[in-house]
């Protein structure tokens, strides 16, 4: 084992441990702000993995997009909402947790068996390293042109949709009188809800 | 030449449905005119029909969806001719006998005509898929006819009818698809399907499938539960069409497709079918005796009478098959007159209860003419000589006794029981003392009576001169049995020869001996 390989191995172990620990924290901690910050750590460690794989561009993009945009947005969302709500403890919640854990473990076992048992066809080409940006650009304008352009339409429509969902609606005056009260709702009336239990009916 | 039978009623139905400003009276006239034209066209077909040709005549062919093997392919033989005639006649009569004060008359007449067109098409179809299509076409119109204009429990009855018939359609489609695709063909022409050579086991399974499918429609006994509900809930004209024509679609399908396509399997299953038929006859008669509602009684009588048809078909002799074919016609006419008269009684007296009805024969305050016709209808249904019912039943029994003595004897017992319940019916309703306190019945007008008079004339006339009916069906029946006999002998021989060599001779020889004698006997009847 050369020194470089040793450094690689150690940093892989460190990154992996960091990633798994942070990901577990995201799921298990009850304070959502902690979860959000830990998610940032997960993203950073993934970016580190990319660096190890000699994919510098992707690593940079990962940090810029996921940490810089997505994660910050999540934090903004959490802090703007900032609503405390105490949830009534669900009885026998542990049962659900155990079941979920079992399913997840099973899935993990299946996937690891699959990963280990499959003869992966590894590409023989050398990693392109720093030439990646040029190569990605070439692909974007040749064989990946269609998805690239389609993604622009997708982004446009996501933008439009986000504005629609977020904007404050004004209720136009030109609408006929009787529909003003129901504006921005489905024309179908909601049906009368049947109380789920007798207690509900009495209260 | 055959398309007008579908086209005239269909165009009439569409015209009625689209003509929004049409009054009830005018709708009725238009519907009657349409049905009348169809009837005249049918009469004209009789004049064009070539009696010497037992095959299909007046073929019409138009490619429709060749990828599926579905083509517009019509043809006419003796069996179809009689059925089409029955359909045209009963449609006209049912339209005539429908009340003039009907809710939503345009929809009613239009649906009736639609049913008539579909049924006529089904009787003429020479393509299995076309038959299936037209068989399913009448489903929804009939559902609506029962559900909108029916009596009490009408939606329940209509839904039951719909589900049973849809199930029968599904089974039939499965049978047809299997028949054609098992032979590696993509040809749903009836003639091709007739010529298939499937192994006997496959044939038997497919025939079983078709027997259940058509057995629901006929109906045969375990599948009959929709019948009393539907017949009773349906209004008079709809009940006439249901019992008079639609039930024939079942027996027609059974003979045309079951017998025609799988003669080997038919020969194999025939003994069981005969026993089944006899069981149906007895069951129908015994249950009819127990009824307190005259319409329900007539409905159950229908189960018994369709049993004769099946018995005739199972007997493998051309006499019996001729009998079965003519029995289909006579049952249609007799059931129609009975339903009409029962409807008339209900309309005038206001009840169908046997325990309440009494003394309608009373010449002054009762319904004498209606009662007289009811007596005639009952007698015809019970098979009193000189009327149509006797002739056809006699033909069936004469033909099948040679093959299946015991089931035939049981069926004859069933005829006796038929007489029993009709005597109960007639005795309670027509005779006895009319309670003067309640007997203020509206008069029956001639218009209301008219359909029954026509039907009674036909029943009487064809009872005296049966040859006029028999001659149309005979060539087809003979050709069907001819298709059946060589194979059936083979099958039976292969099946039973070691144990009972006598069985070899029974169907073939005896029937040939029996036929001339019976026909001669019939001709000398009047």
């Amino acid at each position: 084992m050369t020194l470089a390989e040793g450094v690689q191995l150690v940093s892989f172990g460190l990154l992996a441990a960091m990633m798994i620990a942070a990901a577990l924290g995201v799921v298990l901690l009850s304070n959502i702000v902690y979860s959000a910050f830990l998610l940032g750590i997960v993203f950073v460690s993934i970016s580190g993995m990319y660096v190890l794989l000699n994919a510098g561009f992707v690593a940079a993009a990962q940090i810029l997009i996921y940490v810089g945009a997505v994660n910050v947005l999540i934090l903004f969302g959490i802090m703007l909402v900032n609503k405390r709500e105490d949830f009534a403890p669900v009885r026998r919640a542990w049962l659900g947790k155990v079941a979920t854990g079992a399913v997840c473990l099973g899935l993990f076992a299946l996937l690891s068996t699959m990963v280990l048992g499959t003869p992966w066809a590894l590409s023989s080409e050398a990693a392109i390293g720093d030439g990646a940006t040029v190569m990605i650009g070439l692909h974007f304008f040749s064989d990946f042109l269609l998805p690239f352009e389609l993604a622009s339409v997708l982004l446009l429509i996501a933008l439009v949709g986000a504005i629609i969902l977020a904007r404050r609606e004004f209720i136009p005056d030109e609408m006929p009188q009787d529909t003003v009260g129901d504006a921005l709702k489905l024309p179908e009336r909601p049906r009368e809800l049947v109380p789920a239990s007798r207690d509900g009916a009495e209260s | 030449m055959l398309t007008p039978l579908l086209l005239i009623p269909a165009v009439g139905a569409i015209a009625l449905a689209c003509w929004s400003g049409c009054s009830a009276q005018r709708a009725r006239s238009l519907a009657l005119a349409t049905a009348g034209t169809t009837l005249l066209w049918t009469v004209w077909l009789f004049t064009q029909f070539d009696l010497t040709d037992p095959g299909f005549q007046m073929r019409e062919f138009l490619p429709w969806i060749p990828q599926l093997g579905l083509n517009y392919d019509l043809g006419l033989d003796g069996l179809s001719l009689l059925m089409v005639a029955l359909n045209s006649l009963l449609t006209w009569i049912a339209l005539w006998s429908s009340p003039t004060t009907l809710d939503r008359p345009r929809l009613f007449y239009s649906l009736m005509l639609l049913v008539s067109a579909g049924v006529a098409g089904a009787f003429l179809a020479q393509n299995l898929l076309l038959f299936f299509l037209l068989y399913e076409v009448e489903l929804v119109p009939l559902y609506l006819l029962v559900a909108i204009w029916g009596g009490e429990k009408k939606t329940y009855a209509a839904t039951k009818f719909l589900l049973y018939t849809a199930l029968s359609g599904a089974l039939m489609l499965a049978g047809f698809l299997a028949t054609v695709l098992l032979t590696d063909g993509l040809d749903f022409r009836y003639m091709t399907a007739m010529g298939q050579t499937l192994p006997l086991v496959a044939q038997t399974i497919l025939l079983g499938c078709l027997v259940v499918a058509f057995g629901i429609k006929i109906p045969l006994v375990p599948f009959h539960t929709w019948l009393p509900d539907t017949y009773v809930a349906a209004s008079t004209p709809v009940a006439m069409i249901l019992g008079g024509v639609l039930a024939k679609l079942g027996t027609y399908g059974l003979f045309r497709f079951g017998l025609g396509m799988f003669p080997d399997a038919w020969a194999l299953l025939a003994p069981y079918l005969a026993v089944w038929a006899a069981g149906g006859v007895l069951y129908g008669a015994v249950t009819a005796i127990a009824q307190k509602d005259i319409k329900r009684m007539v409905a159950y009588s229908s189960i018994g009478h369709m049993g004769y048809v099946l018995l005739g078909g199972a007997a493998l002799t051309d006499l019996a098959l001729t009998g079965a074919v003519t029995q289909m016609v006579s049952h249609g006419l007799i059931l129609a007159i009975l339903f009409h008269l029962v409807g008339l009684v209900e309309a005038k007296v206001g009840t169908r209860e046997l325990d309440v009805l009494n003394g309608l024969m009373n010449p002054i305050r009762g319904l004498p003419m209606t009662s007289a016709l009811l007596v005639l209808g009952g007698m015809a249904s019970a098979g009193i000589p000189g009327l149509m019912g006797f002739v056809t039943e006699f033909l069936v029994f004469q033909g099948s006794y040679a093959t299946y003595p015991i089931p035939t004897l049981l069926a004859v017992t069933g005829t006796g029981l038929t007489a029993v319940y009709f005597i109960i019916l007639l005795n309670r309703t027509c005779f006895g003392r009319l309670d003067n306190a309640i007997a203020y019945f509206p008069k029956v007008s001639f218009t209301e009576q008219f359909p029954a008079l026509i039907l009674a004339t036909l029943i009487l006339f064809l009872g005296i001169q049966p040859n006029w009916l028999v001659k149309w069906g005979e060539p087809t029946a003979s050709s069907m049995v001819a298709l059946l006999l060589p194979r059936s002998v083979e099958v039976i021989a292969g099946d039973r020869a070691p144990t009972s060599p006598v069985a070899l001779e029974t169907p073939a020889d005896l029937s040939h001996k029996a036929l001339p004698i019976a026909v001669a006997g019939l001709k000398s009847l009047p």
Partner: protein, 525 residues
Amino acid sequence: MDFSALAAQLNAGAILPEGIVIITLITVLVGDLIGGRASSRWTPYLAIAGLFAAIVALVYQWDTANPIAFLGGFNSDALSVVFRGIIVLSAMITVPMSIRYVEQSGTSLAEFIVILMTATLGGMVLSGADELVTIFVALETLSISSYLLTGYMKRDPRSNEAALKYLLIGAASSAIFLYGVSLLYGLSGGQTRLSAIAAQLAADSSDAPIGLVVALVFVIAGIAFKIAAVPFHQWTPDVYEGSPTPVVAFLSVGSKAAGFALAIRLLVSVFPLVSEQWHFVFTALAILSMVLGNVVALAQTSMKRLLAYSSIAQAGFVMIGLIVGTEAGYASMVFYLLVYLFMNLGGFTCVILFSLRTGTDQISEYSGLYQKDPLLTLGLSICLLSLGGIPPLAGFFGKLYIFWAGWQAGAYGLVLVGLITSVISIYYYIRVIKMMVVKEPQEMSDSVKNYPPMRWNLPGMRPLQVSLVVALVATSLAGILSNPLFTLANDSITHTPLLKAAIAEQAAAMVSHTETVETIAIAPQ
């Protein structure tokens, strides 16, 4: 690289219909920005015109000599043309029926149309996509637009709930699909084009590695979510009930057709190695969908939920065609989707019309409708009967073709389940018709008693009427005059090289299978 040579290689003309849709949607968007609210008078018609132009462009693409575009990223073969046609057509009928609905709810129309057209665009690209990245981006375009449409009535909690539910389940299924696709990428050593993946997989091993099976399962989970096959259907009833009805109409036809296009292309081209497995899985999905969809529909009281379950069941019928994998099988799928388009959209048009006039979609509220609105009654009856497969309507021929193809290929069990469940389906369709037609005047429901007189001259009503009549005429006549449609469906299969090869392979496999059976049968003697 020489630019002109590259341009020629890209063969960008293949996405001309998509280009037309994009241009139209941008014109609508910009026109609405400039014109303000007044622009809603012309934007829907512009959208319809654009979609129509896209159909015309599609017609010209039929049977092009060179269907491969974008260096193998997009395939404009007959199959993709026909599926893109179905999707555009469904959008074209959805736009006129949404005008009045959206106006009455007071939301802005132009954005609605823009998002709907984006969904259409996603579906179209998905039908032709021949490469994993394109597939995924197209799938997401379709999905995200659908989430937005579902939540369009944002003041209504039902719409919000539907959107959230759809978003969460949809995102999860997309993620699973993406995982499966990434496995394919890995298994093939870094290929993204479907044909290259298939070639690489076939070259690597004769028996399927376990990774391929896992990839298959994950991919099927994504597809089954899009076509709402049981057990991936849980979102359907709630989303259908809460979303604006025109959106439901599009989801039940356009989005489903895109899902089927994806299913055919992906499964047939990439997974021949595990073809037994995916046939088995789809058989299970089809049976479950037919049985559960039809049985649960019996108990529904809301029209939209009824149609939701009915659409699940209909997807089950269509899957029969996919499973049998013969020429007739694929052709019957295409044919059924074509007629399903008209009958289902017709049904939804009637539901929209009714809910616009009475504000409800409860089945019991339809009772006695025939007296107040014969056109609506006739339309809904015909569409429902056609869905139930009653002749001589279009749906009957569609079902007949599917069952015929299934039986011909020996899928007896599936066909029998289909036959029995379609008998069940007749029951719940006729229940609605019974409500409308059979009920006596005194049994009329309150909403029908207060039924406003028909005013077709209100803004947005005329297009609704037009789309109703179009759907109605197509449903009643497409069956009787179905020969051209049959030819179209058959040609779309025979002119597709991908399917031709697959069909030939399957036929060969079948023959060898029967031969082995025969040799086994003969051997003991």
